[in-house]
């Protein structure tokens, strides 16, 4: 029995992008116990949404909960508000929402993959992934007019239409990206040193994933088939545009990388189908009603299941808005999966969870 060391990682650490704090108890650099504190950035967004902002403005406020999954938050909120207002949005708006969500998923997954590479000590792959990610940012800018804060969904529909030349540009860029994606899959799959760092590391079994209610690619890599796109179809018709569940069985960092890379392929397919089958209709359903009653909405953000609960009281301001971010569900699983790993692989494991603490703490 070696001497126990306590290694604090965070709230500021080179390998962390987000303000979270882990305290690892290690024996000869082997982690035996983990404590976590993930709430460093409580911003009171829920309180602001229920007091300061009108319900139509809230979709812009919740977009600021997170920079990466901005569109997921705005869409989820818009859907919950539409449920409260009891309106159905036009089909074209649904398709456009799916388009932007999937483009966003590509860029979020590539960002996560690049950070896994960086935290494994593979700076060149980080640079390469970031270089290949640039196309998705430009496409989002072309579609939404902004690189990060899309402000694309509003209550009742979407703000902008997809211009034909932009649609052409998306298809062209996706064709250009396909060989690059193949190259990335090759590197992440076959690079020997990277597999030393990633294979068998940060494992979570399917039973533990189920017991700890893990969501997103984290759960799918462990073989737990949980994806909101597979479960709900009332709000966005995912199956119509070629959604397919991606799972792996290993449950380690490598499996998470592979799940993300293959999900990018699925996203590309969805985007192509959306553009091919874009229905003609209005963009927004206008209504003069006020939100009333209770409603919940689930949506698959890049990191997993996003859950919105809202309660309206027939005024401009909501009574209560509850946001559950994907990382919130993963906290218990995150803490669990560190045990019996080398401290040296801890940064790569953290990055492979793809934690989004701004979402979690709100």
């Amino acid at each position: 029995m070696g001497k126990q060391y306590e290694i604090p990682v965070g709230a500021q650490h080179i390998s962390l992008l987000e303000p979270l704090h882990f305290r690892f108890t290690t024996e000869n650099e082997k982690i035996v116990k983990t404590d976590a504190n993930v709430f460093y950035v409580h911003r009171g967004i829920e309180q602001a949404c229920c007091s300061k902002f009108k319900f139509r403005q809230v979709s812009f406020v919740v977009g600021r909960v997170c920079g990466l999954c901005s569109i997921s938050h705005t869409t989820a909120y818009s859907q919950v508000a539409e449920k409260l207002l009891k309106i159905e949005i036009p089909r074209r708006a649904k398709y456009l929402r799916m388009l932007v969500i999937e483009l966003d998923r590509i860029h979020s997954h590539l960002l996560c993959l690049s950070h896994v590479a960086e935290n494994s000590g593979f700076e060149a792959l980080f640079m390469k992934t970031m270089q290949y990610r640039e196309f998705s940012m430009e496409l989002l800018e072309a579609v939404c007019g902004n690189r990060i804060q899309y402000d694309f969904s509003i209550v009742g529909g979407v703000t902008r239409d997809l211009k034909p030349e932009v649609a052409d540009m998306i298809l062209k860029r996706l064709d250009h990206f396909m060989p690059q994606l193949e190259e990335l899959i090759g590197i992440y799959k076959n690079n020997w040193t990277l597999s030393l760092k990633n294979k068998g590391v940060g494992r979570i079994s399917k039973e533990d994933a189920m017991r700890l209610n893990v969501v997103g690619p984290f759960a799918r890599a462990a073989g737990l088939a949980v994806d909101v796109r597979n479960e709900t179809e009332d709000l966005l018709p995912w199956k119509e545009v070629g959604y397919e569940m991606i799972t792996d069985t290993a449950g380690d960092v490598h499996a998470r990388n592979m799940v993300r890379l293959r999900e990018i392929e699925v996203s590309i397919r969805i985007i192509r189908n959306v553009i091919a089958g874009l229905p003609e209709s209005d963009l927004v359903t206008e209504t003069k009603a006020f939100p009333e009653g209770e409603a919940t909405v689930r949506l698959e953000a890049p990191r997993g299941e996003l859950f919105y609960y809202a309660k309206g009281n027939k005024t401009q301001v909501l009574e209560r808005l509850k946001i559950k971010a994907p990382t919130f569900s993963n906290v218990a699983g995150m803490v669990h999966a560190f045990t019996n790993n080398e401290y040296a692989s801890a940064p790569a494991i953290i990055a492979s969870y793809d934690p989004c603490l701004s979402c979690t703490a709100r």
């Binding site: 009171g44 893990v214 209770e294 309660k311 559950k324 569900s329």
Partner: protein, 113 residues
């Protein structure tokens, strides 16, 4: 969304008979202010397609102790700790100070009087 009313006394029995880790997925806990009382909610959903969201809820007085469901749902401690700090609800066996600093004024999400 299916809403099932329960009470503090029967909550644990209800959840134990309902919750099956292979079928259901615990999402989050939530509390809504209803005047003087508070509505505490436990959200579950299915892994199946089409999925159904189930919500257990109960009305409590302010300051009343809510039983913890940690022994039924393993990952519930995060949601419970969040409610304790943000909504100032008294949950069994859960200390303050996970979501906010321990010396922070508790209940920032409560409506200002």
């Amino acid at each position: 969304m299916k809403k099932i009313e329960t009470s503090l006394a029967t909550l644990k029995n209800d959840l134990a008979s309902f919750y099956n880790p292979a079928e259901h997925h615990f999402m989050v806990m939530n509390a809504v202010e209803m005047g003087e009382k508070m509505e505490v909610q436990w959200f579950f959903c299915d892994y199946a397609h089409p999925c159904e969201t189930t919500c257990f809820f109960t009305l409590i007085e302010r300051g009343e102790e809510v039983p913890s469901i940690k022994d039924i749902v393993d990952s519930a401690w995060v949601a419970e700790a969040e409610l304790v700090d943000l909504m100032n609800i008294n949950v069994e066996n859960t200390a303050k100070g996970f979501v906010l600093e321990p010396d922070f004024e508790s209940g920032p999400l409560l409506k200002k009087k």
